[in-house]
Amino acid sequence: MPATEKELAETIRRISGVDTRKCMKCGKCSGTCPAFGEMDIHPHKFVSMVEKGEIDELMQSKSLWTCLSCFACVERCPRNVEPARLIEAVRLAVIRRQGENYLKADQIPELLDEKLPQQAITSAFRKYSK
């Protein structure tokens, strides 16, 4: 039986290790995020939606695939909330489901170019596939 939204929210909090209640809603994460423009749900809202348990919508969010894991939000948050950890946890909740990989091996050849380092492929696989 698939997990309920409430169970999912619990899982997200547990595996991220983030206490969303520490957030004072200053919005510095969204002020700092370099991928803000490509996100539909912005970092401050992402935190707030995890807090409210609105995980189903977050799992559909394209923010999961545009977060650069640059840790600027983590570094600059005045409350130690670590939004990037929440995004990673929701991303995992998606790709841990069977058939939900964002990046599949057969897509790779067309994405390659001569100079692309292995590191890019490995990173993307770790982030987007299970």
Binding site: R14, I15, S16, G17, P34, A35, E38, W65, T66, L68, S69, C70, F71, A72, V74, E75, E82, A84, R85, E88, A89, L92, Y102, L103, L111, D113, K115, L116, P117, Q118, Q119, A120, I121, T122, S123, A124, R126, K127, Y128
Partner: protein, 260 residues
């Protein structure tokens, strides 16, 4: 001075220069870098979730192997450094991860983060010393205006990486001075180049790289240096306008030491 050395996958393939120049320069500085036997890929990204154990094991193996050799561990690629340093932090501070990793690996002596992990640049700063380095430079890169590109992985999160001031770092600028060139400060030197997103969203990564290059050029940089193959790709191959030459810092180090 002897260290264990973790090169990482990319330094064996697309970023052979980063590795080769790094080794040659170390030798010229009287430092022995012993490549770890049978190291495995670190995974390139740090698995942030608290329940990710298997994805951290290759880093733990490298750390254990350095400990068993009695060496500090030197890394060179920014991403490898980031992953191994943070996994080491988990082994020190996260009891759950430590217990599970140890249970899985069944080591003779359990591992609790004893290995000291330092990046090549930290080795230059803290072990060699930039003043000493300066003395060993035979071919100072006079007149070259170089922008340091730090990126994300070396600096953040600063509480874990403990590398430098995350918002106004100086280590690479100090390095540039030591090899006789002129560092050019620019505000985007610690902003993201687009990272791995370059694989699936080229344009997003391009935008990020362009902003960095523009910022560096505006402040008068004529070339950039980096410690990361992915940053190198994004800045050098993936950016659109405003091309600036981008080098690995080890290449310039080798050049200055006359071993290029």
């Amino acid at each position: 001075m002897k260290f264990s050395y973790y090169p990482g996958c990319t330094l064996k393939t697309k970023a052979k220069d980063l590795d080769a120049y790094g080794r040659r320069a170390a030798e010229a500085l009287g430092i022995t870098l012993e490549e770890l036997p049978e190291w495995q890929c670190c995974g390139a990204v740090y698995p942030m979730a608290k329940d990710e154990i298997a994805t951290k094991l290759s880093s733990v193996r490298a750390l254990v192997s350095a400990r068993d050799l009695g060496n500090d561990l030197v890394t060179l690629c920014s991403a490898c450094h980031h992953v191994i340093k943070r996994v080491n932090g988990d082994m020190q501070n996260d009891e759950n991860i430590r217990t599970k990793a140890n249970n899985y690996l069944q080591l003779e002596t359990p591992y609790a983060g004893e290995t000291k992990v330092i990046h090549y640049l930290e080795m230059l700063r803290d072990v060699v010393g930039f003043d000493e380095l300066k003395k060993k430079v035979v071919n100072p890169l006079k007149g070259r205006k170089i922008g340091a590109y730090y990126g994300c992985m070396l600096l953040r999160p600063s509480k874990e990486m403990q590398f430098d001031n995350p918002e106004n770092p100086t280590i690479i600028e100090d390095f540039i001075k030591a090899i006789g060139a002129t560092p050019v400060l620019y505000p985007f030197r610690n902003e993201c180049c687009g990272g791995y997103v370059t694989l699936s969203k080229k344009e997003l990564a391009q935008k990020k790289a362009d902003v960095i290059l523009e910022s560096a050029m505006e402040q008068g940089a004529e070339e950039l240096i980096t410690a990361c193959p992915l940053c190198m790709y994004n800045l050098d191959a993936n950016s659109t306008a405003h091309k600036l030459p981008v080098h690995y810092f080890t290449e310039l180090l080798a050049e200055a030491l006359g071993v290029k």
